[in-house]
């Protein structure tokens, strides 16, 4: 009678047998490893400061509602985007509550309305009077085809942060500044070349054709527009005018802007060295600077953005986050109750402002006294009050999955226009505007073509 070993080795060599045993052992081990069970309704957050400010409120909620506990989870922004979209598209698990930023949120709007993965909150928001309680423009990034899919977390108005220490040392009075032309004229003494290398040592504004954030902030401030719903408006004459003006800031004899890396250590160092006087600063970025560039504390002051024309808008908007409820949730009422408790909470508003400098979109909370406290980072100015002062005036945005495409198109035109100006040594606004219009018309056609390709949006419209 043959032994067991002989029987096996008739088919497999001893080495092969060892590999087979190891493979089976690995599979069994993987199957019997204990799974970590998570308790509570999952809530995905991607911003660390948000996560920190939500923790105590979630803990309190869970103590009051042990049977309806919320499981707050911090995951990276890219992971949230991929997992959320994959879940919406392919049905893989997605948290009941998710907090995507405006650009991620818009990617969920690419399909037909009935396939959007977020719960349609329009009726609830209207019926419960939230449209009146929350700053209206804050809903815009989370609205598509007339339906609202999330509660806004913020307003994100933009102010101009300037180096008050340098400006005041030069004896410059900023109170007379109303427009961008005023700003550049009044601040121009600061652009002197002090070290004799033939270049100014300081520039007056942090903006550049490669800086899409600055471009969109300035374009929106001036009522420029990329899309109207899902219809491209890239070639509006207003856009052409703004781009032409911007090019004269970036190049030529009247150059006043500098290209500084937004979030890098090098960028912070350049700001600290005073290579730039003014920066476009949304409220959340003010909080970011406090954490990442404390050396600027006491050197900065805030002022409303100079307007494009006299009497024009003195602010803009950048960024945004919403709290959305998964359409497939089995706990809608709990999620909705929790979402309101969290986002409308005065306690959260205060905590969020203190930790991140973000102001609440809830209008009734704007009178809170903590917004009036002097802010040492901004030379004792009440930064909260200054941001709230501009909150009702932030421009209304459009939410579309094609927003990034249209923005890239406009930024490309800006880069081409600057190259055109340098090549032809043309720096007058009217000639540049004509060229900008030509380039924007081309991009308009391309964007239209791209959107027309989406059969789902075409069907809905």
């Amino acid at each position: 009678m043959k032994s067991l070993r002989e029987r096996f080795t008739r088919f497999l060599s001893p080495g092969a047998l060892v590999i087979l045993i190891l493979a089976i052992a690995s599979i069994v081990t993987a199957l019997v490893l204990p799974r970590t069970e998570t308790k509570g309704i999952p809530f995905w957050v991607s911003a660390q400061p948000h996560y920190e400010s939500y923790r105590p409120i979630v803990a309190e909620w869970n103590a009051r509602h042990p049977d309806r506990a919320i499981n707050l989870m911090l995951i990276h922004g890219h992971a949230l985007e991929r997992r959320m979209l994959t879940g919406f598209l392919a049905g893989t698990p997605v948290a009941d509550l998710v907090e995507p930023n405006s650009s991620t949120a818009a990617k969920g709007f690419a399909g037909p309305l009935e396939s959007v993965g977020y719960y349609d909150l329009t009726e609830r928001i209207q019926a419960e009077g939230l449209l009146d309680r929350i700053n209206a423009p804050s809903f815009a990034p989370f609205t598509t085809r007339g339906r609202i899919f999330g509660l806004p977390h913020d307003v994100h108005p933009v102010l101009l942060a300037y180096r008050a220490d340098l400006v005041e040392a030069a004896g410059i009075d900023v109170s007379t500044i109303e427009t961008w032309d005023d700003y550049f004229r009044v601040m121009s003494p600061l652009m002197r070349d002090r070290d004799g290398d033939g270049r100014p040592d300081r520039y007056l504004l942090e903006a550049w054709d490669a800086n899409a954030i600055a471009t969109i902030i300035l374009l929106q401030q001036a009522d420029g527009q990329l899309l109207d719903g899902d219809r491209p408006t890239v070639n509006l004459p207003r856009n052409a005018y703004i781009l032409a003006r911007l090019v004269t800031w970036f190049t030529g004899p009247k150059r006043v802007c500098i290209d500084i890396n937004q979030d890098s250590a090098i960028g912070h160092r350049q700001r600290l060295e005073g290579q730039v006087i003014g920066c476009l600063l949304p409220d959340w970025r003010a909080g970011q600077w406090k954490r990442e560039n404390p050396g600027l504390g006491g050197k900065l002051k805030l002022m409303p953005l100079p307007a494009w024309e006299k009497g024009g808008r003195r602010t803009s908007v950048f960024g945004g986050t919403m709290l959305a409820i998964n359409r497939r949730t089995e706990h809608f009422e709990t999620c909705w109750e929790f979402a309101k408790e969290l986002y409308l909470s005065p306690r959260l508003a205060e905590q969020m402002f203190r930790e991140t400098n973000i102001i609440s979109p809830v209008k009734e909370l704007w009178a809170s006294s903590f917004y009036d406290e002097p802010d040492p980072y901004f030379s004792g100015q009440p930064s909260g009050r200054l941001y709230i002062g501009q909150a009702p005036h932030v421009p209304v945005r459009t939410s579309s999955p094609y927003y990034a495409y249209a923005l890239q198109a406009v930024c490309n035109v800006l880069a081409e226009l600057r190259a055109f100006a340098d090549r032809t040594r043309t720096y007058d606004v009217s000639t540049l505007q004509a060229e900008a219009q030509r380039l924007l018309d081309r991009e308009q056609r391309r964007t239209e073509r791209e959107i027309e390709r989406n059969v789902f949006l075409q069907a809905d419209s």
Partner: protein
């Protein structure tokens, strides 16, 4: 005569690979072809569009910009990287060279660092004013503009430079191995016949290393056509001003995962795959012709 038994062992060992290959390569390949003929918003929401994705691709200016940029990068990489790699290999192959091991490690070391790290390393190097490259060039050549915009106006040059740093040493290893296999007696015979260094290189070394050179060229071409991480990270997750850093792979990624149009992304993927297949066949044919000569 004893009937021949079916031998299970090879199939058993091949089974895991075949299973994984079927599930993760063959099936996705077939599925992606179907996807290329659809417009989708997740598997539940699809619309059959036939060849529309391919027709759109043929006239899509962004795709052609990406294709042009990729071609530019590929040619730049091949025409600079491979000669540099071969030069380094020839240098290291010299008789009596001291510190050969240290030099080999030094040249090869960059390829041990992942592409994302290289991109993050080069991002501050290419900065205007404060970047190491501009600052150094301005120091040595005062007329050099410290505001030279590597990352906005000379994106492809910057990418080729960064890639050169990583891949020159990597390709050098292949060339070095090939050079070490060139028979010494052939070189000696050529020298005795009066052949100078250039003639020995042209008529002895080059034909001997031709198969390896062909292989390295093919690998570099495929790698260059698939370039994604370097430009994606170096350009801060975007294609750069005027799409100067947009590559075909980046466009595929943008379309599939940022715009969410998996159908169009699949069409781009198929065009890229067929192009690479064509290049590989062409290269093989060239190599055969060269070998038969």
């Amino acid at each position: 005569m004893r009937p021949q038994r079916f031998n299970f062992a090879p199939w058993l060992f091949l089974a895991p690979f075949l299973g994984v290959f079927a599930v993760f390569t063959i099936w996705p390949l077939l599925r992606s072809f179907v996807l290329a003929l659809q417009q989708t918003y997740g598997p539940g929401t699809t619309a059959w569009v036939g060849l529309r994705n391919f027709r759109f691709l043929a006239t899509d200016p962004l795709f052609w910009t990406a294709a042009f940029n990729t071609l530019q990068y590929t040619l730049g990489s091949l025409l600079i990287q491979l000669p540099v790699a071969l030069g380094l290999a020839l240098l290291l192959n010299r008789r009596g060279l001291r510190g050969r091991g240290v030099l080999r490690l030094t040249f090869f070391a960059p390829s041990l660092v992942g592409l994302p790290f290289v991109a993050m390393l080069f991002a501050p190097i290419f900065e205007k004013r404060t970047g190491l490259l501009n600052a150094s060039l301005h120091w040595f050549f005062p007329l050099w503009d410290p505001e030279f915009a590597w990352m906005s106006e000379y994106v492809m040059s910057a990418l080729i430079l960064a890639a050169l740093w990583i891949y020159a040493g990597f390709n050098m290893v292949y060339f070095l191995a090939a050079l070490q296999n060139v028979p010494g007696e052939l070189l000696e015979a050529a020298a005795m016949d009066g052949a100078g260094p250039w003639q020995r290189f042209r008529h002895v070394i080059l034909p001997e290393i031709a198969p390896v050179a062909g292989f390295v060229t093919l690998l570099s071409t495929i790698g260059s056509f698939q370039m994604f991480e370097l430009s994606y990270i170096l350009l801060n997750n975007g294609p750069g001003p005027e799409n100067r850093g947009l590559t075909v792979m980046m466009y595929l990624y943008q379309t599939g995962f940022l715009t969410g149009d998996l159908g169009y992304a699949s069409a781009i993927g198929w065009v890229l795959a067929l192009t690479l297949m064509g290049i590989a066949l062409f290269q093989r044919r060239l190599a055969r012709r060269y070998e038969n000569r």
